[in-house]
């Protein structure tokens, strides 16, 4: 049996600092919102000639008065991602096409064009925030119906931890937040909850079984009993996610990365946040028996 409980305090301090650092990052550095949430235009280009590079493209586009243009390689050497903020010119894509064809010859394939107006991006951001909030609230309700309040608190703190730290990591690394990241965050919420609930289920079962074991020990027993399941499921999920990350193409990369972070944090938080909340709230056999009596 691994003595997970020996490190409860240390990892609690770590988690609190991670959350604090993440919140600081989110407040002061902020998130790198993509065009879905910020509005603007995105163009994915494939050049048929390998001589074309980022700086020549950037120089060319900078002459077009597009405002702040970002040009990046996208995946391989001949693919580029161009982004700029909204402007009023309706024919801007046509003009870019003409301009690039003039300067570089007819060498470009416009693989993807996305343009999100300011009104739509504001709506998408709002509905993204609503979606995550509603998900958290529904999880809270579900767990509140299923478990005693001490367990609910533990699960919710673990959830907030996972969401905040994942977003904090995105802020730190400057990774782009777009619609698919919202989907990833929601799936993380589901996954983290799932992991926590499995361990909690065992804690509650053990609480009924053993009256003489203190919660500090009991959580450790429960974690160990469910450990192989926790690990196997994390591994298979990570295997699936890693294969999306490496082979699923550039578009799914951000999504799979967020999920990979989320699964790791989710697994960690089920052990080191959700359970320590039970310990700190001095949950005992009485907590679950009282509930049984009232039912």
């Amino acid at each position: 049996m691994i003595a997970f409980n020996k490190y409860y305090n240390k990892f609690n301090i770590l988690s609190v600092s991670l959350v604090v650092v993440s919140l600081l990052l989110l407040t002061f550095k902020g998130l790198n919102f993509g065009i879905d949430f910020k509005g603007g235009t995105l163009i994915e280009l494939r050049a048929s000639e390998s001589k074309i590079n980022v700086s020549s493209l950037r120089d060319n586009l900078n002459q077009m008065n597009l405002g702040d243009v970002s040009v990046k390689k996208f995946g391989n050497e001949t693919d580029f991602l161009i982004k700029f903020e909204n402007n009023d010119n309706k024919n801007v894509i046509e003009e870019i096409k003409t301009n690039l064809d003039k300067s570089f010859g007819n060498n470009f394939n416009f693989r993807r064009v996305e343009n999100v107006g300011p009104k739509v991006s504001a709506e998408l951001l709002k509905s993204g925030i609503i979606a995550i909030s509603v998900a958290l609230i529904l999880m809270l309700i579900y767990i509140w119906i299923r478990f005693e309040w001490q367990f609910s608190l533990g699960a919710i703190l673990a959830l907030f931890h996972d969401v905040i730290v994942t977003l904090g990591l995105f802020s730190l690394l400057g990774l782009e937040i777009n619609l698919s990241i919202i989907a990833a965050v929601l799936t993380i919420v589901g996954y983290s909850m799932n992991d926590t609930v499995v361990i909690f289920d065992r804690v509650r079962e053990n609480l009924r079984k053993y009256s003489d074991i203190k919660i500090f020990e009991l959580t450790n027993i429960s974690i160990n009993e469910t450990l192989s399941r926790t690990l196997i499921t994390s591994i298979t999920t990570l295997l699936a996610l890693l294969s999306i990350f490496f082979f699923g193409g550039e578009i799914l990369r951000g999504f799979s990365l967020a999920m990979i972070f989320g699964v790791i944090f989710g697994t960690y938080s089920s052990i080191y946040i959700a359970n320590t909340v039970l310990v700190r709230l001095r949950v005992s056999q009485k907590t679950v028996l009282k509930e049984d009596g009232s039912n």
């Binding site: 894509i93 993807r112 989907a183 996954y191 799932n194 294969s243």
Partner: protein, 517 residues
């Protein structure tokens, strides 16, 4: 938990076979009607254009208020009340009346029976609001009036958008209402939406008006720019003909001038008016105005009574074709703005499909390998259930002809990764049970029973996330939530029917064997 009746075994086998058949119908073409269903590929996979259009209703409101000024004047004239200082600004109409009539005017506006201001009993609201501010009376659209106006202009716009897109002939366009002032257009297979965008961006409001010879025109005049130059002309506000009078329009080659023109045919009313105008206006310039710009302003040389004519204006064949198309399909009630556009080229779509399939194959292989190494014979059982699960998932998506997007493929891969969770929970539980219980059958039975709540919990939490995504998400994200959500149900089926059935069959044969799992 371990008993399976013969009937149930047949049922499970049948279901599995049916779904394998349905799922594989995506790969092979079956002539059978029942199976003639396929998963649709989303725009991000097959390539195409997604356009969200917003109707700018402010010109409609202005126009309606403009019409209202005349209505109000005439309405109260009959009652011997003089309306003064009629003015429109900020979507509001203001006017003054003598103090003694103020109450009468207010009463007329608030009378539920009056024709002046229609009343909607269902919403307990008038079309227009009226209020008193200082000496002015201010009329504007009520909330309900505005909704009515928006809905009707959305209906009209939708019809025109559909006609224009049909004229171009893209395959299976999807044109839908969104809210009360938006229209969503999905155009599969279209990799360059330039032409459609420019066609949808034009209101195509066509009018024939005389170029004003003297500025004293009883209808008023306005200065308009030419389409192809910065020159301006003063044009009468009196409309001789509008696009509504057109029956047909076609691009033509004018043999005399060797120029591309748009020839048009007028309806009866239009032909009459056109004939009258051209007979009285010989020698005058007739401006052809499209969306506030003059295309050309030819001098009338002859009376045109045939009800057909030509518009010239330095067209290329393409621009003449487009103008003819716009004129045929009619004018939009209000300008449309493209507020969101997502276009994916067909080769990127194909790349995404390939990448998605490779990721699925590799992810699947890794999970299967891992589970087999971990659980041996029970791993095999889990893997068989997992493979059937995949067929079930694809089969359900096929039956509903769901749209598969790239995130949707990610959802399938993720389902593969998470689907083993339930079997892992069960097997780990059985292992624990076997520590105290020597009877395989009892241990397996209680393993299944005791893991049930945890499995249910785990799947409900994921389902909650999937449902929220489905209702809040758009496009590709919806595809993700769909596969994730459907995946939960197919997973539960494959775990509790297929994997359990195979487990039962195996355990029944190896009742006495020790260290079974």
């Amino acid at each position: 938990m371990l008993y399976f009746s013969k009937l149930r075994i047949i049922f499970v086998t049948l279901i599995s076979l049916i779904f394998i058949l349905i799922a594989s119908s995506n790969l092979f073409k079956f002539s059978n009607d029942l199976l003639n269903k396929k998963i649709n590929l989303g725009l991000d996979l097959q390539g195409g254009s997604y356009l969200l259009l917003e109707i700018d209703n402010s010109p409609v409101v202005e126009q309606k208020l403009q019409n209202l000024t005349i209505t109000i004047k005439n309405y109260f004239k009959e009652k011997n009340i003089r309306i003064n200082n009629l003015k429109i600004s900020n979507q509001e109409l203001s006017f003054t009346v003598d103090n003694q009539f103020k109450q009468t005017v207010l009463d007329e506006f608030n009378d539920e029976e009056s024709n002046l201001n229609p009343y909607y009993p269902r919403f307990k609201s008038h079309q227009l609001n009226i209020e008193e501010k200082n000496d002015l009376l201010i009329v504007n659209y009520s909330k309900q009036g505005l909704v009515e106006l928006k809905t009707s202009s959305q209906d009209q716009a939708l019809e025109i958008v559909r006609r224009r897109i049909d004229e171009i002939g893209t395959n299976e366009p999807n044109i839908l209402k969104r809210g009360n002032d938006r229209i969503l257009v999905e155009l599969p297979g279209l990799d360059d939406p330039m032409r459609i965008k420019s066609l949808l961006g034009k209101t195509a409001n066509l009018t024939f008006r005389f170029v004003a010879s003297n500025t004293e025109d009883s209808f008023g005049t306005e200065k308009l720019k030419y389409e192809d130059s910065s020159e301006e002309s003063v044009v009468s506000k009196r409309i001789i003909l509008s696009g509504d009078n057109l029956l047909d329009a076609q691009p033509r080659m004018n043999n005399e001038t060797n120029e591309t023109v748009v020839s048009f045919t007028l309806d009866r009313v239009g032909a009459k008016r056109f004939g009258k105008a051209t007979s009285t206006g010989i020698g005058k310039q007739l401006a052809i105005v499209l969306d506030g710009k003059i295309i050309s302003a030819p001098v009338i040389r002859d009376t045109i009574a045939s009800g057909s004519g030509q518009i010239s204006g330095g067209f290329t064949f393409q621009s003449a074709t487009d103008l003819a198309l716009l004129l045929r399909s009619g004018a939009l009630p209000a300008p449309l703005n493209i507020i969101e556009e997502r276009t994916v080229g067909p080769d990127l779509g194909q790349d995404s499909i390939n990448a998605g399939m490779i990721a699925l194959a590799i992810g699947f292989a890794l999970v299967i390998l891992f589970i087999f190494i971990k659980y041996k014979i029970f791993g095999l059982i889990t893997n068989i259930a997992l493979i059937i699960n995949l067929f079930l998932l694809i089969g359900v998506l096929t039956i509903f002809e769901a749209t598969l997007t790239l995130p949707g493929i990610a959802g399938i891969i993720l389902t593969v990764g998470m689907a083993v969770d339930a079997n892992v929970l069960i097997f780990e539980r059985i292992k624990e049970e076997l520590k105290d219980e020597k009877n395989n059958l009892i241990a397996f039975d209680s393993g299944y029973t005791k893991s049930r709540t945890a499995i249910l919990d785990a799947n409900i939490t994921t389902l909650i996330a999937a449902i929220i995504l489905f209702f809040m998400g758009s496009g590709p994200i919806k595809g993700f939530s769909l596969t994730l959500g459907v995946g939960i149900f197919t997973t539960l089926f494959s775990v509790y029917f297929i994997a359990r059935l195979l487990t039962v069959l195996y355990v029944a044969k190896n009742k006495q064997k020790e260290g079974l799992i």
